[in-house]
Amino acid sequence: MARGVLVLIEHCEGKIDSAASQLLAIGQRLAEKLKVELVAAVIGYRHDGVVRALQSAALDRIVAVDDPRLARASGEVQAQALGEVARQIKPRLILMGYTLAGMELAPAIAARLGANAFTNCVGIDAVDGAVKVTRPVFDNTLHVEIALEGDETAVVALQKGAAPELKPSAKEAPVERLALDLENFSAQSRLVGVTEEPRGEVDLTKAAIIVAVGRGIGGAEKIRLVSELAEALGGVLACSRPVVDVGWLPRERQVGASGKTVAPKVYIACGISGAIQHLSGMRESKRIIAINKDPNAPIFQVAHFGVIGDLFEIVPALTKAAKESRPG
């Protein structure tokens, strides 16, 4: 049998990351098309709940490494452990999520294996036994399609996004416990602790309308223009990362992979170009309206309604119209 597909399962406090369940569904489809085995690997400590949850996911087998030294392991140690698991399984494909953890681990695992890594992928498919991945380049304005060649292991890190339905299985996948020689791992780093961003005055996740401002606004003093629109619509002001980076708005207003993930009824993006990190935090919004002067801005990839124009003309007109149409 040809070499298979290995899915690396990210989990936290006994729960499988949502990216990992998408990967399992993608892995199922790939393994079927390639007619190879589908394996999931979980590393950690006392993660039996995670392993049990995986058993019903139509996998050929599950490889689990359970070791107290993996309880609070740094990326450095995790990459060695996952690299060692991959070395023993020798898969054709290693699938992982392009989450913050995946961004750190994918290149390290690939480097340890001497393998290619294809990160930030938005798609993967197999046609007639050949695997093809799709990933963004040039600020997310273009997608490049890459055909994998040869039989060497490749690491593919996939963005969260649309995935096929996960097929459950009646038969439980067997679990193989693997003991790794962790003593001999290099451990020049250690995880000290995990903290949450302190709760601020706004909860973006509960807003029905979000009006978000991007770097295109051009200055802190001009943000008032957008906050007036938010107020007129009865919505909440949010922003993309660059606005926080330059200190125009506090971190608690940031929507995106590093900030808040939101899905309001209406999301209005003003002067936001649409970096992947931003899109991943708001693409599930029910109705997305984007105002941007660049017709090629990636924000229009997810917008339902778009306005190509100057936000300094459109936003005040919209604020005025919102005030006039307000009931009562």
Binding site: M103, N116, L148, R190, A321
Partner: protein, 255 residues
């Protein structure tokens, strides 16, 4: 503390992007190269650490002669030394192999770089070089503090407003997020003066690398195209007032 900052020269607006004849890279018409944004933040953080703890800052880039521009920019910002590795590649495995070899030639306690280059959006080379050199690493770092004379404490993003604090023995490599320090303005006169400084240059052969080992392999670029949209965006036209009226009704019907 001696710090090496790895920076990439990236094009601004690109046009006529197509798959290259080797099917391993993209060809395009691009405007002037500039320092990749998060790499500039890494440099700014290195300079802040130098101000606080002493030592020197060496800036390294890989690329052709045009990439010198960003090294002069880094020198103008306050880097002590600049090194260019004369190697052009968009392959992460090759780039990290070359970068790891270059880092071996340099004296450092800490390596800083950005998270992701705006052209390839790969985010691989820093971490991969660390793994090749056996250095501890952390990605998406938003704060760096000295933990002791031989260790740093890094706060890194986990996503969704969560952070991890990691302690790393030196030498270590950290991939820095945008926003870690405010970017300082560089006066044009200083940028002019920086052009007089010398820049060390290495070829992959100088680094002891075999050119045959530096050939990308295992894939072929097939196509490059604008992203396919899951749905079509409906663009609204008219005067700002007409657009505003149309948008209000689109907003109301969605509530």
């Amino acid at each position: 503390m001696n710090i090496v900052v790895c920076c990439k020269a990236v094009p601004g607006l690109v046009t006529e992007v197509k798959v290259g004849a080797d099917a391993k890279s993209l060809e395009y018409q691009g405007q002037l190269l500039a320092i990749n944004e998060c790499d500039e933040y890494a440099l700014e953080e290195a300079l802040a650490l130098k101000r606080a703890h002493g030592g020197n800052v060496t800036v390294v880039t890989m690329g052709n002669i045009k990439a010198l521009e960003i090294l002069y920019f880094a020198l103008a910002k306050g880097a002590d030394r600049a090194v260019r590795v004369d190697c052009e590649t968009s392959d992460a495995r090759v780039a990290s192999t070359v970068l790891a070899a270059a880092l071996k030639k340099l004296d450092f306690d800490l390596v800083l770089t950005g998270t992701q280059a705006r052209d390839t959006l790969g985010g691989q080379v820093g971490i991969a070089a660390a793994a090749l050199l056996g250095l501890p690493f952390a990605y998406a770092v938003v704060e760096i503090q000295m933990a002791s004379a031989s260790a740093v404490k890094a706060r890194k993003e986990l996503g969704g407003g969560r952070y991890a604090e990691v302690e790393l023995s030196l030498p270590a490599l950290l991939c820095v997020q945008t926003g870690i320090q405010p970017l300082a303005f560089v006066p044009p006169a200083r940028r002019m003066r920086a052009r007089q400084q010398s820049v060390a240059s290495f070829t992959p052969a100088d680094l002891g690398l075999d050119p045959a080992a530096l050939a990308p392999k295992g894939y072929r670029l097939v196509d490059v195209h604008p992203p396919q949209r899951s749905h079509r965006v409906e663009f609204l036209d008219g005067t700002p007032q007409e657009i505003a009226a149309a948008l209000i009704s689109k907003i109301r019907e969605a509530l």
